[in-house]
């Protein structure tokens, strides 16, 4: 049976959660604040073994396979049975709404190395959505008013962070073009060069999300995170938020990190070839030396809204506030704008040419 941790307020016994404003644990009932360390120690000290054992007895047998990918927890506050995905690491009890953390999920080697705590709260995410919808001409007018927020949740998304050293040997063919006039002739001189660049470049903490639940577009578009806020992982940070365990392992995610590292290496080396009119890479030999891989949890606000029966998903960087998401286009406005610009520019261009 998986273990379940609920952080109880040492003052009033209420379930406490991580507060993104104060960056501390805060009891929503009596407003008392606690240091993460203090709460951790308090919990360890007051953990009476066997306290809830009587509640933890399953009363029916599952047939083989039926339980795959599913876990059952018992809420420590109300005793309600919580059925969750095997990768869920933090959630809220559906009966009493108390924030809970499935501590067992981060046992052993699966424990995250780092975490960036939430900096922006739920209201911040809501107002970010409103702001995001403003000033977008092609967005249907009714979208801002009619779309309903179906779901808004703060999720700690599992990420793999890759350190990597790239060794590159790249050859380019480049040309310089010079033209001059002599008499009735225009001379064009093309000088051809072979360019060789050999060197190294290092990358630090290239993130790849390790959760299949999180669409890659939504997780990559809100990058980058400010790694300066990285702290050592403590389960207490998860209280009050959702959290998932990775379901794509470090090896499988590495491919994506390498893609991006390769591209950046090529771009950086290309930038050292200056003063030419054309530069074409002829051969690129990039060797990647993988370094440290870290497992980290990043704060993401996920918002789902419904508009005209369709779901629109948004994500916001819970640390920097970067907000992304795809929105519908107002077809009428789009073609209206198209026709307007077309007519306007055509008329202007016609007038200028006819008058000159």
């Amino acid at each position: 049976m998986a273990a379940l941790t609920e952080y109880k307020c040492p003052c009033c016994g209420g379930a406490i959660e991580f507060n993104s404003n104060t960056q501390n644990m805060k009891c929503p009932y009596c407003d008392t604040e606690f240091e993460i360390e203090a709460i951790k120690e308090y919990c360890e000290a007051s953990n009476d073994v066997g306290d809830d054992l009587s509640w933890n007895t399953p009363d029916s047998e599952w047939s083989a396979g039926e339980q795959d990918g599913m876990k059952i927890y018992t809420c420590k506050s109300c005793g309600g049975q919580i059925v969750a995905d095997e990768n869920t690491a933090a959630s809220a009890c559906p009966y009493c709404d108390n924030p809970i953390v499935m501590t067992g999920q981060f046992d052993g080697g699966l424990k995250p190395d780092l975490i960036i705590p939430f900096k922006i709260d739920k209201n911040g995410a809501k107002s970010a959505l409103e702001k995001y919808l403003k000033g977008k001409f092609l967005l249907p007018k009714s979208f801002s008013n009619e779309n309903r927020i179906e779901e808004i949740k703060g999720v700690y998304v599992p990420f793999w962070l890759y350190d990597c050293d790239a060794d590159a040997y790249i050859r380019y063919r480049a040309t310089k073009v010079r033209t001059w006039k002599a008499g009735d002739y225009l001379y064009t001189e093309t000088s051809h060069f072979l360019i060789v660049r050999n060197g190294g470049i290092s990358f630090e903490k290239v993130p790849v999300d390790g959760s299949t639940k999180m669409p890659d577009e939504l997780s990559e578009a809100i990058e980058p995170y400010n790694y300066g806020d990285c702290t050592k992982f403590e389960t207490a940070y998860l209280a009050g938020y959702m959290a998932d365990k990775y379901d794509v392992d470090a090896e499988a995610s590495e491919k994506r990190a390498n893609e991006r590292i390769r591209k950046s290496t090529q771009e950086e080396f290309r930038n050292t070839v200056i003063g030419y009119d054309t530069v074409i890479p002829e051969a690129a030999n990039i060797r990647l030396k993988s370094g440290k891989i870290r497992y980290a949890l990043m704060p993401v606000w996920m918002l789902n809204t419904k508009y005209k029966g369709e779901m629109y998903s948004f994500s916001m960087n819970g640390q920097t506030g970067k907000f992304v998401g795809n929105l519908p286009t107002d077809k009428g406005k789009f073609w209206g704008l198209f026709a307007g610009v077309f007519a306007g520019v055509t008329a202007l261009a016609f007038a200028v040419q006819a008058l000159l």
Binding site: D184, Y185, N198, G200, F203, E220, S264, V345, A349, F350
Partner: protein, 266 residues
């Protein structure tokens, strides 16, 4: 006796020639010299009076001459027209300004020779325009009509030069509005695409990253080996097509004076 008679005839011919040439110089000779006999007397008179009206209109600033011949005596139309103008004393003011239209019926060629202010008032493009109209008339046998067109177009171009200070040139070319419209529509289409897709891209922000630039360790890039090796160079030459910038081209005639002009066939 015989020799004496011959001599006196010769002398009188010379005197006559000298006299006519003097009178020719004084009166600037015939404005319409219809050597090929293309016009009736009344037509010739009417054209001549039209020309005189224009000459007076611009205060003897430009001479206007129409010459028709059956042969240019082996000269090119250009040389013949220039010489005819120079040696018959045409042209007003200190520069000998004016223009002459030569029609060579033998080779079915026309040529317009300009001089002095005429060079400046009649650009190559202007002469081409006149020539086009005149050649149409000549080709269809309407000689009088062709010469009338020549005279009225000359009036028009001189008038433009005198009032604007700029001659009728390439820039006055009647515009092809269909082509202008197509070009404008093309520009409009490109602009509309750029604007609309820029606006639409605002609505699609959930896109994957392309690189890992944000994660490059600062100052970690080191180039161990960098060479820019010159391989070879090649040079190509392309003849510059003289861009038609308008204006008047000139040349020097056998008399040593500067003429402009142009010609063609009909």
């Amino acid at each position: 006796m015989k020799i004496k008679k011959l001599f006196s005839v010769f002398l009188s011919v010379i005197i006559c020639a000298a006299l006519t040439s003097v009178t020719a110089f004084a009166e600037n000779a015939d404005k319409v010299a219809d050597n090929a006999d293309l016009l009736s007397d009344s037509e010739e008179k009417r054209l001549e009076s039209d020309i005189m009206d224009i000459i007076e209109k611009y205060n003897y600033g430009y001479d206007i001459v129409v010459v028709t011949v059956n042969s240019t005596q082996g000269k090119s139309p250009e040389a013949f027209a220039d010489d005819y103008y120079d040696y018959n004393g045409y042209g007003y003011d200190s520069e000998g300004s004016g223009l002459l239209l030569l029609v060579d019926m033998g080779n079915r060629k026309w040529h317009i020779s300009t001089k002095g202010k005429g060079i400046r008032a009649f650009t190559d493009y202007g002469i081409d325009c006149i020539g086009e109209t005149v050649a149409d008339g000549l080709g269809s046998g309407d000689y009088c009509g062709a010469f009338s067109d020549f005279i009225s177009l000359s009036d028009k171009y001189i008038n433009k030069y005198e009032t604007d200070g700029k001659p009728y040139d390439i820039g006055d070319k009647p515009k092809n509005y269909a082509v202008i419209f197509l070009i404008s529509a093309g520009i409009g289409l490109i602009a509309a695409f750029i604007v609309c897709f820029a606006m639409k891209s605002q609505l699609k922000t959930a896109v994957r990253q392309v690189n890992a630039r944000s994660y490059i360790s600062k100052g970690s890039m080191n180039i161990k080996y960098a060479r820019d090796i010159f391989l070879y160079r090649n040079v190509t030459a392309a003849k510059i097509e003289s861009s038609d910038g308008g204006g008047s081209s000139t040349h020097t005639s056998s008399s040593g004076s500067t003429h402009g002009g142009g010609g063609g066939s009909f």
